[in-house]
């Protein structure tokens, strides 16, 4: 069931077009990653979805709300850099957030202790936020976004400020939350998206370059790939250099790869037969010849570096 539909959403700042007529839908219960390099327009898109930024043009329609209506009651938001009142304790802030969302004092109290436990800062609940570490603030930020059980949880780069352990823990938490609510989160790390998400929207320069279910995208853009590695002796290296300068027709693109090369090929059978023949004939001391497929990483790199 569709939860959110975005059509022709555009935002220009002065002359620069930060978001350029994007459109997508988010279905209930899905976990969606908004992926893109720095400056792609992820934060701008998210700010428009949360109502913090008025779109230059376009439409944001939430299920159950008239287009453009105030749908703040059903979203929970964690900004890229969460700003919290340093003079409050973690518990006070969480209860404050809950009460602003319309929870009764008792409900807010119950939700608060549950969430503090869940995000792992229960022991710091009664300490001033000013004394929290970055990771603790991030967790409290996540807790305050969840306090009113939002239908859509929007997170702007939830893990990029965390150390590897913190990152692991927040990702685990998101994996649990996935079962309970719809999630949209932005990241510039493909790995995070692949690990967790059902859908991805890859943005570049204000547009959605590729979007859809991860599995579909993977299949759709899948290409066979040959990975070749050789020993670092003079003769083998010379052969590879020469061969790469004029690769055969079945090679679509090549990239150097440590002691060898990655070849995106069109016809995997022809490639396998022909390359094996050449390797034997020239007596190349190869250490590895692997046949596989392009990953999302390859697609992501292709999309974001395309000019």
């Amino acid at each position: 069931m569709t939860l959110l539909t975005v059509e022709q959403l555009t935002k220009t700042f002065g002359g620069t077009c930060a978001v350029d007529g994007i459109g997508f839908t988010i279905h209930e219960g899905r976990c969606v990653a908004l992926l893109g390099p720095n400056g792609a327009g992820k934060t701008t898109t998210i700010r428009m979805l949360t109502g913090l930024l008025a779109p230059t043009s376009g439409r944001i329609a939430f299920r159950g709300f008239a287009p453009g209506a105030d749908h703040r009651s059903v979203i929970g938001f964690l900004p890229q850099i969460p700003a919290l009142y340093g003079w409050m304790t973690g518990q006070e802030f969480l209860i404050y957030a809950g009460r602003l969302c319309g929870l009764s004092a008792k409900e807010a109290q119950i939700r608060c202790s549950g969430l503090l436990e869940r995000v792992g800062i229960a022991s710091a609940a009664k300490r001033r936020i000013a004394g929290y570490s970055g990771g603790m603030k991030q967790r409290l930020g996540l807790a305050q976004a969840l306090i009113h059980r939002p239908k859509l949880l929007i997170l702007d780069e939830p893990v990029s400020a965390l150390d590897p352990i913190g990152r692991r823990e927040v990702m685990e938490l998101l994996r649990e939350l996935k079962q309970e609510t719809t999630i949209l989160f932005s990241t510039h790390v493909l790995h995070d998206a692949e690990e967790l998400c059902d859908d991805v929207l890859i943005m570049r320069a204000g547009r959605i370059a590729v979007g859809g279910a991860v599995s579909e995208i993977r299949n759709e853009h899948r290409q066979p790939i040959l990975t070749l590695e050789i020993e670092q002796d003079e003769q083998s290296r010379n052969w590879l250099r020469g061969w790469l300068q004029a690769p055969p027709a079945y090679v679509q693109s090549t990239s150097a790869n440590g002691g060898g090369a990655r070849l995106v090929v069109t016809d995997v059978h022809a490639a396998r037969r022909s390359l094996m023949g050449e390797l034997l004939e020239s007596d190349v001391r190869f250490t590895k010849l692997e046949i596989g497929h392009t990953t999302l990483e390859d697609l992501f790199m292709k999309v974001v570096t395309a000019s």
Binding site: R47, T50, G51, L52, L53, A54, D70, R72, S73, I75, F77, P79, I81, P82, A83, L84, Y85, W87, M88, E92, Y96, A97, R99, L100, C101, G102, G141, Q144, H148
Partner: protein, 260 residues
């Protein structure tokens, strides 16, 4: 209404945690008590200055109690205004700059409540400080000079309190229109000064200006009546409501700084 109370209570807690609720009333009490005490001791101070030729007789007429209290009001009209501007200058811009306004306003919080809760907190702390400070002034005036009728003191308290609240409101307005807190304080104080000067220069044209409030409060003390106060009070209330409405509009348009 519950949500408004939650917002108001948060502002209140912040005033307590930042000690503003302690130092602002203390400063106001000092301001209020200082004027009558200084006036009372002035002849002694001058006599002890020591550089008078021998035999000089100093004659300073003892001022009337209501004049002393009116001078006290003038203290609140300068230093008091400055303190109110300092207290309220970051009300909106501070939250915008730090990003907390973005955290709060993505929740289903009414923009009007967000602004008016802050405004109510500023008005409350101003009222507490001013009542205590003016009370101290009244007490020392009564102890050292003469008692001023409580009706006149109360009337001038209300009139002057409205003037102070008006300045607080102006500061909140500029705090939501400008990025810099210092600029907001400066603009609000500048506006207050301009209003007072313009009102005294053009008494006819600006007969209903809020800039008259301070003068009316003094008149209430010294002559027992503040003629023509109702239109001024009415206009001041209208100005306060308009200023709050503009603040709300500005916040709705730019809930956070990145959006400006």
């Amino acid at each position: 209404m519950t949500q408004w109370m939650v917002l108001y209570r948060k502002e209140w807690l912040e005033l307590i945690r930042s000690s503003k609720l302690i130092w602002m009333p203390v400063v106001f009490i000092l301001l209020g008590a200082m004027q009558p005490i200084m006036t009372y001791m002035m002849p002694d101070i001058i006599a002890n200055a020591g550089n008078m030729p021998e035999g000089t007789i100093i004659e300073i007429p003892t001022p009337h109690a209501s004049e002393v209290l009116a001078q006290t009001l003038q203290q609140f009209g300068t230093l008091g205004l400055l303190i109110i501007a300092l207290i309220s200058m970051g009300t909106v811009s501070g939250e915008r700059m730090s990003g907390t306004s973005a955290m709060i306003l993505v929740k289903p919080v009414a923009y009007t409540s967000f602004v008016t809760a802050k405004w109510a907190a500023i008005v409350t702390i101003t009222a507490i400080s001013f009542v205590l400070g003016y009370g101290a002034g009244w007490y020392y005036t009564a102890a050292l000079f003469d008692t001023v009728a409580w009706q006149d003191a109360a009337g001038s308290l209300l009139l002057f309190g409205l003037w102070l609240s008006f300045i607080g409101t102006l500061t909140i307005l500029f705090s939501s229109l400008l990025r810099s807190a210092a600029a907001a304080a400066f603009t609000a104080l500048g506006t207050a000064a301009l209003l007072s000067i313009a009102t005294s220069l053009l008494p006819k044209a600006l007969a209903w200006s809020p800039g008259k409030l301070a003068g009316l409060a003094s008149a209430q003390l010294t002559s027992g009546t503040a003629s023509g106060m109702w239109p001024v009070i009415g206009i001041t209330f209208v100005c306060i409501i308009a200023a709050l409405a503009i603040s709300v509009w500005s916040l709705r348009k730019y809930p956070s700084i990145e959006a400006v």
